[in-house]
């Protein structure tokens, strides 16, 4: 992979991890989790495992929707 793009994606993953741990609202934590997953999938594509990338990209939003079923209602 291009070195510059790899450093940018690694910085995005680290930023999302710090943000997901430090926030206190569940919705903000879920948005940071989406940042982590978006930074992770290009690393899977770069190895050439494209079928795994399709499966992971379709399964992780499903997991987020499962967590949203347990969230309390937001602002009215």
């Amino acid at each position: 992979m291009n070195e510059t793009v790899m450093i940018m994606l690694a910085a995005l993953v680290v930023l999302g991890c710090v943000l997901a741990i430090r926030e206190s609202d569940p919705y903000r934590k879920l948005i940071a989790l989406s940042l982590i997953v978006g930074g992770t999938i290009p690393f899977i594509v770069d190895r050439g495992l494209l079928d795994v990338a399709v499966a992971v990209a379709l399964i992780f939003p499903l997991s987020t929707i499962f967590i949203l079923m347990a969230c309390p209602g937001g602002e009215p």
């Binding site: 997991s63 499962f66 347990a70």
Partner: protein, 79 residues
């Protein structure tokens, strides 16, 4: 020592500490922080080129999150 391996180790360490000591100590925050080590394990498996392990782990991870959400809803309904 590929970058995927180092990034996965960082995610596992930070996510485990965040799951053990969440900021507001609720079950929902603990469940959301539990997703971070899952993605770290995915990255460590990726650095060894295990395609079948990645597919199986991705499927089972969503299933376990669903079971945890059901347990959490049942506990909230009881109290």
């Amino acid at each position: 020592m590929t970058p995927e391996f180092l990034l996965g180790l960082f995610l596992i360490l930070a996510g485990t500490v965040g799951t053990a000591f969440p900021r507001p100590k609720t079950y929902l925050n603990r469940l959301i922080n539990l997703e971070i080590p899952g993605i770290g394990i995915l990255l460590v498996m990726l650095s060894y080129n295990e395609a079948l392990a990645l597919l199986t782990y991705g499927g089972v991870s969503a299933l376990s999150v669903f079971i945890f959400v059901r347990v959490l809803q049942k506990r909230e309904a009881k109290t």
